[in-house]
Symmetry: C2
Subunit: 215 residues, 2 copies
Amino acid sequence: MESEDIKAWKVPEPTLRRLPWYLAFVKLLQGKGETFVSSTQIAKEINVDPSQVAKDLSFVNIAGRTRVGYEIAALVDALESFLGFTSQHKAFLFGTGSLGASLLHDTGLTQYGLRIVAGFDVRKELAGTRINGIPVFHMDDFPAKQKEYGATIGIITVPVEKAQEVTERIIAGGIKALWNFTPFRIRVPEDIVVQNTSIYAHLAVMFNRLNSMNH
Amino acid sequence: MESEDIKAWKVPEPTLRRLPWYLAFVKLLQGKGETFVSSTQIAKEINVDPSQVAKDLSFVNIAGRTRVGYEIAALVDALESFLGFTSQHKAFLFGTGSLGASLLHDTGLTQYGLRIVAGFDVRKELAGTRINGIPVFHMDDFPAKQKEYGATIGIITVPVEKAQEVTERIIAGGIKALWNFTPFRIRVPEDIVVQNTSIYAHLAVMFNRLNSMNH
């Protein structure tokens, strides 16, 4: 369904979504003082087929050893680096309303390689303010600020009716990847990356399952 | 991969994830003063097959009319109600760290039917404070507060190494559905609903696509 699905990516999206689970579990073992982990152990913990774990890890540049498995410290480093969590990706956030301001407060993003360097909003009274230390500018200043900061990622948290318009403006300004939090299916040129994270859609699934349980 | 996938649900998860996109688009048309919409129009906008749109909408209690399609106001009401966005689901949030506190700031959740009534944390100095008007209690007070509020949903934003432990405590206390924001694959009994929203996993996909584009 995602626009990126039609392209032939080297690493499949399901693999990229599972690897952070393995990372979380392996870091947990590391915290407990463990030094080696097998793909069978990961498979059992995550509830994924062992052959799937081995296949997923084959994309990462790390080799396991017969019987002992993977060295944990090396696996953590390899996974974090492979997933891009150790690089710093500069991002602009568009729409500092409720959800946008929330994300500016989430310092966890920095630990996962995303550095939000500025927020933008159309409300004039917000220009010049800071949210969690991050400067907020007027939307009209985006082209100038883009020259200054050179962000590659745009986080879209504008109201749904503005999603497509903002998308087009920021792509024109040089943004290469969009993290779309609106429930709107934005349209982009082929060379632009889109990741949709509609947390409200997840709510719909949860409510439906909860209701089905009760009946 | 999700634990719920093994059960035979009446409405498929992909349908439940697409319906909010249709809703967003149809509300947009409503805002522009339109009164009717066809499934072909929705399909074209969302980039989904028209037969898929018709199939998805067949789960919702609404009938389209030949030639004119669906009446927009009725479709909006039917979708919002079907998706559970018009009900108020009481939720507790566990772990008022960076991401947890962010979610307490997101008033958008209320509009989608989720009312976070309290937050819990193990840090004693936070007990008795409020975040965005929402009271924060010590984790040890959860059983008493659960008797008082009767929340059905638990939002898990604790550190990853505490995810399973907190999961077990809150299920024992009567929570029926878990919205898990940690990258940990929590294990739950069969009658408990889990929705995993690992926003950092989405980052991994975006970074990888962005790198592939550059090479």
